[in-house]
Structures are given as structure tokens and as C-alpha cells.
């Protein structure tokens, strides 16, 4: 047997399925999907709503467990891991960007960005330093003390990107990151994510149904009815 060439994938799904019971009806949201995400990769997951792309992102982000199949993070099978270790992996390995930003409304930009470090036990002063640096990296060094409501949608999403990157994750999972933004602001946010992908060796997975957004990625995975329809580089 020959091993894979190069470094191990950051996240690897092997024949994963996810099904739900909805009022006695078995719904299969994801049907035996296999996917490898290499370090520093830039990948878009495309597909109509209901195709299973969000479910796939939740599985890759360890927010959910597959009903069948194998899931590895950094080469490690996560099937048997208890909640607290999954939480630790999410905290250290994975960064999330959501369509609706999910910022804490009453919390300042810098404290929003520092939130992942809180759960890592980083002291307050150091948290603030790292969060400030992350905000400067996304061009919001002048907005440290602002609350989300005082900022535009594009600025809010950039705060969310800073929060996803402050903990230096191996992979950034972005679920429709431009869905709530106009096309110009959306393009700016995508450029930001791409520059961070290039500079920091963070693998980026963008889940979208927007062909323009997907076209920017180096690799496109198209999904339909819970299965991978095509995977092009």
C-alpha cells in the first residue's frame, strides 16, 4: 500500500451520510459523500438549496455527527470523541463565517473577535492584543470599540472573518458569506478571505449557491440531492 503524497488532508470525509427522522419519514440529507480538503486549499461547495451543502459544512465543522461514514480532522477519526474534545477541535482547528454574521449585538468588535480565545483560556490582555491585530488585518483597526449595530453589513462580516481567523485555524468554513451583502461589498469580503487564504495557509471552504462567488475558487464541488455531482479543479 502506498500512502498519499504530500501532507495529510485537514479534513477528510469518507462515505459520510447524514439522515434525519422527520415525523416518521427518513430524510437523507447527505448520502455517502467523500471529500478531502488539503491544507491551504480554496474550495467552493455549490448547489441548490436542499442539496446537502449546509449539512456537509456542519459535519466538516464538527457541529454535527454523521450517521454513517468516517470523518477525520488532521488525520484523526473524530467519531468517538466526546463533546469537550470536539469543542476543543472547533476552537483550535476550525473557523466559521456565517451568512448572518452571528456577532454578539451588545459586545464591541474587539470583544466579539476575542471570543474564541476566551474558550482557549487566553488571558484578557493577550486576547485583546490578538483580537486587535486580527481586526487590523481585516482593515477594521479603527473600529475596535464599535458595536455591530453601529457598523455596515460589510464591516460586520469582516469582523466575523477576523473572529474566525484570530485563533489561527487550519480551515475556514464560510456558509454563504456574501448572502446578506450587496455584490460589491460581497466581492470585497471574498477578496479579504482570499488574501488571508494566500497569506496564512488557511484552507477555505465557501458554501454558496452564487455561481460568481464559486467561480473565484480554485476547486468547485457541485452537490445535488445529497450527493457530490462533480468535483472540478
Amino acid at each position: 500500500m502506498t500512502g498519499p503524497v504530500g501532507p495529510a488532508p485537514v479534513v477528510e470525509a469518507v462515505e459520510v451520510s447524514r439522515s434525519y427522522r422527520l415525523e416518521d419519514v427518513q430524510v437523507t440529507a447527505l448520502d455517502r459523500v467523500s471529500l478531502q480538503i488539503e491544507p491551504g486549499e480554496y474550495l467552493a461547495v455549490l448547489g441548490p438549496s436542499g442539496s446537502g451543502k449546509s449539512t456537509l459544512m456542519h459535519l466538516l465543522g464538527l457541529l454535527d455527527r454523521p450517521t454513517a461514514g468516517l470523518l477525520r480532522v488532521d488525520g484523526r477519526d473524530v467519531a468517538g470523541l466526546p463533546d469537550r474534545q470536539l469543542a476543543h477541535l472547533r476552537n483550535t482547528t476550525i473557523g466559521f463565517v456565517f451568512q448572518s454574521f452571528h456577532l454578539l449585538a451588545r459586545t464591541t468588535a474587539v470583544d466579539n473577535v476575542a471570543l474564541p480565545l476566551v474558550y482557549r483560556g487566553v488571558p484578557a490582555r493577550e486576547r485583546r492584543r490578538q483580537a486587535t491585530a486580527a481586526l487590523q488585518a481585516v482593515g477594521l483597526g479603527h473600529r475596535l470599540g464599535h458595536r455591530p449595530v453601529q457598523l455596515s453589513g460589510g464591516e460586520q462580516q469582516r469582523i466575523a472573518v477576523a473572529r474566525a481567523l484570530v485563533g489561527a485555524p487550519r480551515i475556514l468554513l464560510a456558509d454563504e458569506p456574501t448572502g446578506n451583502l450587496d455584490s460589491r461589498t460581497g466581492a470585497e469580503v471574498m477578496s479579504l478571505i482570499e488574501s488571508l487564504n494566500a497569506e496564512r495557509d488557511v484552507a477555505v471552504v465557501v458554501v454558496t449557491h452564487d455561481q460568481d462567488v464559486a467561480d473565484r475558487a480554485r476547486r468547485r464541488v457541485r452537490m445535488r440531492d445529497g450527493r457530490v455531482e462533480s468535483d472540478t479543479r
Binding site: 456542519h58 465543522g61 457541529l63 454535527d64 463533546d83 469537550r84 469543542a87 476543543h88 472547533r90 476552537n91 483550535t92 466559521f96 456565517f98 452571528h102 454578539l104 451588545r106 471570543l115 474564541p116 476566551v118 474558550y119 482557549r120 483560556g121 484578557a124 473572529r163 485563533g167
Partner: protein, 394 residues
């Protein structure tokens, strides 16, 4: 997540919902405040009664017919005035035996009338009880022997009937019979708004004729030393039971009276505290309810925190601390209010209060426990939320 930071962020969350937090706290404030206040009232009553029983005089033995118990009606007395001499022989000193027969009567000077307790007593009262005079003299043996119609007034009675005039030598009418005032007691104060200065002492012989009775209600003996109290009690009871075959008598000391009253008032205090405790419980249910609402409202926040690496325990702790902070802050405010009200009542009203330190310790312990007890359920629910479902909820 560090504990100190968890407290800081919980405090921030409570501050974000100021009105709601304040209203939720109010239940705990009222509960804790009423525990502290009611216990202070109970303790104050107990302390005052104890002080008054102690104020009767030291080494005192009270002799009453029947079995002594606080709260039951006294037995009908078969004791007579001869028993003063009889007990005097039993204890070896007639001067240490006082007696009393009491009745509520109207006392009048001109158009001014008061309803007071008239005590028929003998000349030994100042020796047996601590009852100092403000002016004049007390009753003498000759007053008692010759059934002289003289009276010693309580300070309140003297003031009500005579105002600033000197009552000595003046006439008062007790139940229609004229008495001459020979003395006025020094002021001793009031119990629960009822003045102990509203009584009148007259010779027991005159009182018996006035009331139309030949009995006396009770005898009091002053023991020469503390050590002699025990043997004297036994001797008095057996002597009286020998004289009155088939009757029961009790000779009780202040310590025994204090014990009985203490038990009753202690029980009262506990009952008051328990009633107040119920309102604290209701306050706790309010905290639980609001925490459940808060968890539901912040479902997305919980999902986000989990996505960013919060463990179940972190989320549970966050909500538990919020609940405990609510009840603890409410408890502190309630304690301050309770103590403040109790002190104000003590100073500005007739209601005596005494802050019981154990009630403060209990109230603070209970308010923290209420927070933990009623916070755990919502907090566990928050900790167990499925992050995917939580993030999706709108």
C-alpha cells in the same frame, strides 16, 4: 473559560436586560428581606419578654396554684392571705413573701377615668421584686393589716390622672371607692405597646374587699441565695400540698419561665421565617422562569459560542452564574432592606426588633442556593442545545 471572566460576562448580560433583571431580583429581594425582618421581629419580642422577666427581681420563686404552663388559663386559686404567714414560716422569713390578687378596674379623678390593673399586694413587694418608686412611699404592713385605702400609682396612671400636678396625698376613686395616693412608681416601660406603668397597687386586704373575694392569686418568694432556690421550691410545694390536700401547686423560677417563653417565641420566629421562606421560593421560581426565557432568546448566541469552541460546561456555567448572580444581588439588597426596616421599626415604632445574625447567614446561603437550584435546569438545557439547530433558529 476562567471563573472571574464568567462572572464579568454574566454581569454584562444582566446589565443588558436591566429592567428584566431588576424585576426578577425583586422576588428574591422581597423573600430575603421578609425573612430578615420577620426573624428580627420574633427575636426582638423574645428579647424584650426575657428582659422583663429578668427585671422582676433576682432569686425569685413564683408560687401559683395548679401546674405552671404559659398559654393555659390559671387554675382557680384556693390560696388565702393566711398563706403569706404560712409560707413565711416555711421559708423562715415572712418579709420575703409577697402576694398578689389582681383585677381590671376603673380609676377616676374628677372627670378623668382610666381602666387599669389593680394589684392587691403586701408591703414586701419592693423587697421581692425590683420595683423602685419615683416619689412617696410604698404600702406598709400597717396598711395591709388595717385595710387602709391607700394606693401606689404607676407612672403612666399618675401622669394620665394628674398631669403635672403632684398626686401625693390626693384622692382617687377605684371602682367607686376612694383611695389616697401615697406613692408613685418609677417608669419601667411598655411591652408591645401595653404600658406596665398602667397599674395601681393597693393593700391586698383592701383589694379583696373591693373585688369581693377572699382568695389571693399568687405568692412570690425571694430566695436568700441562688443555691437555696432549688430546695426552697420543693419545700414550698410540699408544704402547700400538705395544707391543701388533693391540690397541685407550682413554684417556678425566672429561668423556668424564660425557658418556656423562649420555646414559644422561638417557635413563633421559626414559623415567621418559614412563611417568609415561601416567598423566597416563589422568587426562585421567577428566576428559573426568566432564565428559561433568556436561554430561548439567546439560542443563536449559544450555538455561536459552541461553534467557536465553548463546551457544554462553559455554557452551563455561564447561565448558572447569571442565575446565581441574580439571586445573590437580590439577596444582598433584600438583606439591606430587611435590616434597614428592622432598625427603623425598632427606633421609630413600639415594635421591638433585634437583627439575628443567623438569619443573615441563612438568608445569604439560601439566596445563593436558590440561584443554583433554580438555575441548574435552564442552564443544563442551554448547555445541551444542539449547535446546528441553535445556529439555525431565527
Amino acid at each position: 473559560m476562567r471563573l472571574g471572566e464568567a462572572f464579568a460576562s454574566a454581569l454584562a448580560a444582566l446589565r443588558a436586560n436591566r429592567l428584566r433583571s431588576a424585576l426578577t431580583m425583586l422576588g428574591v429581594v422581597i423573600g430575603v428581606g421578609s425573612v430578615v425582618l420577620l426573624v428580627a421581629i420574633g427575636s426582638g419580642a423574645k428579647q424584650q419578654v426575657e428582659r422583663q422577666v429578668e427585671g422582676l427581681g433576682s432569686n425569685l420563686i413564683l408560687v401559683v396554684p395548679g401546674r405552671f404552663s404559659v398559654g393555659t388559663a390559671p387554675s382557680v386559686s384556693r390560696l388565702t392571705l393566711q398563706d403569706v404567714d404560712y409560707l413565711g414560716r416555711v421559708v423562715g422569713n415572712r418579709d420575703t413573701v409577697a402576694t398578689t390578687v389582681s383585677s381590671g378596674e376603673e380609676i377616676r379623678v374628677g372627670a378623668t377615668a382610666r381602666y387599669v390593673t389593680v394589684n392587691g399586694t403586701n408591703e414586701n413587694v419592693p423587697r421581692v421584686f425590683d420595683r423602685p418608686l419615683a416619689r412617696g412611699r410604698y404600702l406598709t404592713r400597717a396598711d395591709v393589716d388595717t385595710r387602709r385605702r391607700v394606693a401606689v400609682l404607676g407612672s403612666q396612671v399618675a401622669h394620665d390622672l394628674f398631669g403635672d400636678r403632684d398626686p401625693l396625698g390626693r384622692q382617687v376613686s377605684v371602682a367607686g371607692v376612694r383611695f389616697r395616693v401615697v406613692g408613685v412608681f418609677a417608669e419601667v416601660g411598655s411591652t408591645f405597646g401595653v404600658s406596665r406603668d398602667a397599674e395601681v397597687h393597693v393593700p391586698v386586704s383592701a383589694a379583696q374587699r373591693l373585688f369581693g373575694v377572699s382568695r389571693i392569686d399568687a405568692l412570690a418568694v425571694k430566695a436568700p441565695t441562688i443555691a437555696s432556690i432549688g430546695p426552697l421550691q420543693t419545700r414550698i410545694v410540699s408544704a402547700l400540698e400538705q395544707k391543701y390536700r388533693g391540690e397541685k401547686f407550682s413554684a417556678v423560677t425566672q429561668t423556668q419561665i424564660l425557658g418556656t417563653i423562649g420555646t414559644i417565641l422561638g417557635l413563633l420566629t421559626v414559623v415567621l421565617a418559614a412563611i417568609a421562606g415561601i416567598s423566597l421560593l416563589v422568587g426562585g421560581v421567577g428566576v428559573s422562569n426568566i432564565m428559561l426565557v433568556s436561554v430561548r432568546e439567546r439560542t443563536q448566541e449559544i450555538g455561536l459560542r459552541k461553534a467557536l469552541g465553548a463546551r457544554q460546561g462553559d455554557i452551563l456555567l455561564q447561565f448558572l452564574i447569571e442565575a446565581v448572580l441574580l439571586t445573590t444581588i437580590g439577596g444582598v439588597i433584600g438583606m439591606c432592606l430587611g435590616v434597614g426596616t428592622a432598625l427603623a421599626a425598632d427606633r421609630f415604632t413600639e415594635l421591638p426588633t433585634q437583627i439575628a445574625w443567623w438569619s443573615l447567614a441563612l438568608a445569604s446561603g439560601v439566596s445563593v442556593s436558590v440561584g443554583v437550584f433554580f438555575g441548574v435546569f435552564p442552564a443544563r438545557r442551554a448547555g445541551r442545545l444542539d449547535p446546528v439547530a441553535a445556529l439555525r433558529s431565527e
